[in-house]
Amino acid sequence: MRTFGFSEFLFILEAAKWTVALSMIAFVGGAIGGLIIALSRTSNNNVARLLSGAFIQVFQGTPLLLQLFLVFFGAPVLGLEVNPWVAAGVALILNSSAFLGEIWRGCIQAIPSGQWEAAQALSLPYVSRMRDVILPQAFKIALAPTVGYMVQIIKGTSLAAIIGFVEITRSGQIINNATFQPLIVFSVVAAIYFVLCWPLSLLAARMERRHAAALAR
């Protein structure tokens, strides 16, 4: 029987790059989707508001694990090849679109109505009103919660282990099955996640404090 040594540690550590890669995919895709959702939620178009509202309700009201299963088992229904990479990527992108969309909707709506009215009074078209007036200001408010949400994404990627995607958690399971030393294996797994997530949490908290201090001034 194998015992937990340096090579086992390296095996888990190396899987961290897949966790990071999957997190990046989820974040970039989720940011694009989230922006669309946030803009639809704040638009004047009833249909866009209704659809994006339903999207958020569905993806915030069902477990991420079930979303992952639905994409993973739903892809063959649509005649697509099942691949843990694609399934995990798509499910995490959809999920983070809903959450980031809702966070950013709040940030957009936090911009004082005077700003909207001023942009309208200057007769700026919608694109310019958003791009030049509202979004840059909303961006400042959104930064801290967005960094905080990145921690949620990294933790969420651990669920991909359940459909067989080899990232930190799955590689921990594999090593645990070979060594039967769950205490040390899962401590190492937890420690790697902690090292990935904690700096982001600290950064988010710092940004929030600085933002609060800037507002109080």
């Binding site: 009201g61 477990p63 694990l65 299963f69 921690v151 933790k155 958690t169 769950p182 949490s201």
Partner: protein, 223 residues
């Protein structure tokens, strides 16, 4: 798309799905209750306790909030028995959920406690209330009222993340779904139905929390 949906097998298994749903509800309610109690104790420790206690509570919060729930679950289910603690998947799942919720809820309640103006606590002292009475009526209740929306959405997130405990077969709704899936191979249909049940549960819980607010916390407050 030439796939014919067959929900027959899924609906035929409704007693199993019902049992799984009830298990998920029970697990979530227990975890909410125990997690809230843990969080109140930790929030008290963090705002009023001695320095070493605060340090321990901070370490607990940071550790839980920066690691995935699935890993915490594996830790409780696989690692602790290696230390000699034998328990069922259900117990391990419940403890993991309580510990997880406790960390998030502590931070939420602490924020509520810190929002209580000092004058309010001094007013309690002036009325000669005992220390525990001040904490309970002057600090905790208004604090819970202030953070109620954040706290209840954390509760619902916990209920949803309880699907993860199916990874250790804790007999919850998702475990039932996984079993059905391996018997009938109607995976897509099963997971659609189960996702719909979770959505219904999430909506019911938020309705329940609105009722609780109206019954317990809806009193006029001066500003």
């Amino acid at each position: 798309m030439n796939y014919s949906f067959q929900f027959g097998d899924v609906f035929a298994a409704w007693p199993l799905l019902l049992k799984g749903t009830l298990n998920t509800i029970e697990l979530s309610l227990l975890a909410m209750l125990l997690g809230l109690m843990l969080a109140i104790v930790c929030a008290w420790g963090k705002t009023a306790g001695p320095r070493p206690l605060r340090w321990v509570i901070n370490a607990y919060i940071e550790l839980i909030r920066n690691t995935p729930f699935l890993v915490q679950l594996f830790f409780f289910f696989f690692a602790l028995p290696a230390l000699g603690l034998r328990w069922s998947a259900y117990a391990a799942a419940l403890v993991a959920m309580v510990v997880n919720l406790g960390a998030y809820a502590t931070e939420i309640i602490r924020a509520g406690i810190e929002s209580i103006p000092k004058g309010q606590i001094e007013a309690g002292l002036a009325l000669n209330l005992k220390r525990h009475e001040i904490f309970r009526f002057v600090i905790l209740k208004p604090a819970l009222r202030t953070v109620y929306p954040a706290l209840t959405s954390q509760f619902i997130l916990l209920m949803l993340s309880s699907a993860v405990v199916s990874a250790i077969s804790a007999d919850d709704l998702t475990s039932v779904a996984a079993n059905l899936q391996s018997q009938t191979f109607r995976s897509f249909e099963i997971y659609i139905v189960v996702a719909a049940i979770y959505l219904l549960l999430a909506l019911s819980f938020s309705a329940l929390f609105r009722v609780i607010y109206r019954l317990a916390l809806n009193y006029p407050a001066g500003r």
